[in-house]
Symmetry: C2
Subunit: 301 residues, 2 copies
């Protein structure tokens, strides 16, 4: 998995601070998460092959997570897209987009499919043979979901040297990777675990923005490889976080610690802070492995 931050600032876009949008690349899939104003420009700036995006996940309908969507959808039309595009987001998203396309008399000529959400329980949104995507219900001023991307465990890895040494017939190799036993040229059965290694550990990524401190999510995101958690404020503005249903860096770190995640990435900084380093310092008092999102940054998961 590779995560690219297109924007990670809250509220109003500024020339050097883009609102929330991320691209997650998983085994050839490109998933777009949130789509603030200017996201399509950021996609070009960071040379993302964005015509390959087939699934867009919108956490909530505040402008800084959503106002770039209609423009991106329109651009896909202008680029001659033919592939399906799936939009997952809160109820109302379909009407907001389709009304604007209708007014501009520019309905898409590719299939545009909306999956509207209103459940307060986790919902499986997408599944193929490699990955699942599930909502993480959050606690914000409007209906909001985070998203959990989980790779499925891969195949066992064939230990070719060992298989050859034991004279396992090559025609069994594909099935051995799928967990079956091998058979030698003279018909002897070799147990699977003697000629394979365990699969690479499955990776997972949890995106949690925007939300108040909400420890109810901890069981669902337990031990994810990487957690992106919003940190709009520092503890010195804790009361503002409570009032606006956002989190502080310390609260994000507490969630990361409780959930025993591999790594925490902070973002969604309020524009009141001239620099973001204090977010990292505050979080690291609670949880060691903390990175700061910044526009254009990439993270291998």
């Amino acid at each position: 998995m590779k995560l690219t931050i297109l924007g990670c600032h809250s509220a109003t876009p500024r020339w050097d601070a883009n609102p929330t949008a991320q691209v997650l690349s998983v085994k050839g899939h490109l998933f777009l998460i949130d789509c603030g104003e200017g996201t399509q420009i950021q996609l070009r700036r960071f040379k993302v092959k964005f015509v390959r995006i087939k699934h867009i996940f919108i956490s909530h309908l505040h402008g800084d997570h959503f106002f770039g969507l209609v423009g991106l959808i329109s651009t896909f039309r202008l680029l001659g897209r033919e592939a399906e595009l799936h939009i997952y987001g809160p109820k109302g998203i379909k009407e907001a987009i389709t009304l604007q396309l209708k007014l501009s008399n520019s309905w898409t000529n590719y299939p545009l499919l909306f999956h509207e959400l209103n459940s307060k329980e986790p919902v499986l949104l997408y599944e193929d043979d490699k990955i699942t995507v599930t909502t993480i219900p959050l606690d914000h001023r409007v209906y909001t979901n985070g998203f959990l991307f989980q790779e499925k465990p891969g195949q066992r890895i064939l230990n070719i040297d060992k298989a050859k040494e034991l004279k396992v017939e090559m025609s069994y190799f594909r099935k051995i990777k799928e967990g079956e036993d091998g058979v030698t040229e003279d018909g002897k059965v070799i147990p699977n675990d003697q000629i394979t290694l365990p699969p690479e550990p499955a990776k997972s990524y949890a995106f949690c923005s925007d939300t108040a401190y909400f420890p109810q999510i901890v069981p669902q995101i337990k031990k994810v490889s990487t957690l992106y958690h919003e940190a709009t404020f520092l503890e010195e503005h804790h009361q503002l976080a409570v009032k606006t249903r956002h989190s502080t860096a310390k609260e994000a770190a507490s969630i990361a610690k409780e959930a025993q995640v591999g790594k925490l990435i902070l973002g969604h900084y309020s524009g009141r802070y001239a620099n973001t380093e204090p977010f990292q310092l505050e979080a690291q008092e609670i949880f060691e492995s903390v990175a700061l999102a910044e526009d254009g940054a990439s993270f291998e998961i």
Copy 2:
């Protein structure tokens, strides 16, 4: 009048090519004309004091002229705006904006007033003691207006040296500027034109985008100081212009020549052209005074 180009490219925004938006400054007023995605970022980039904008004119509801509006409206709310904001645009604009504000549960706390347009005749949209703004009905794929900004003639200019020489009483000076005659200390009437000079010529600016070649606008924009006219294509792609109801540089120049305008500014270039110089060269074969819009350029009118 001072015109600042925030964006002047057609269709999809790119990192170095913003969609249509302009700010016209007239005697202390700031008028915003069109508002493509990213306009609020451009306003900050070019240090426009954009909280002073009270009137926004939207030509038509194609995304590259309109998708930045909801974000700007939201930003005004976040900045604590209290002043009225007037939006002039095609019927449907109110529903598109209010639906999105409703979905994000962030209705403005300043008065947001929509003036929806559907007339195919010129309509006076705004008038104060210094300026009028009128629609210029255009010919595009969807209902579209240009906008004509006309300064009112100023007061006559008092020729103070002459008035003193003729011993005109100072208490008459204000009325003399308004066109009345002067009276000397010993009661003699001095005709107004002996002690005044004509007012500065009133300036005017016509914004015409997007439109097919549409000479019907010529009488309305006759002799404007400056005409911005779209030129999406060069003549070599004339058929594309016809098909998409856009203009070529040559057609824009023909309109400028017919209307005997002071200066022509071209913009709304298609992304297919790597540079814009050929637009100027093509137009100058018809009409001499041609400038090219570019993002961030300013023009004194």
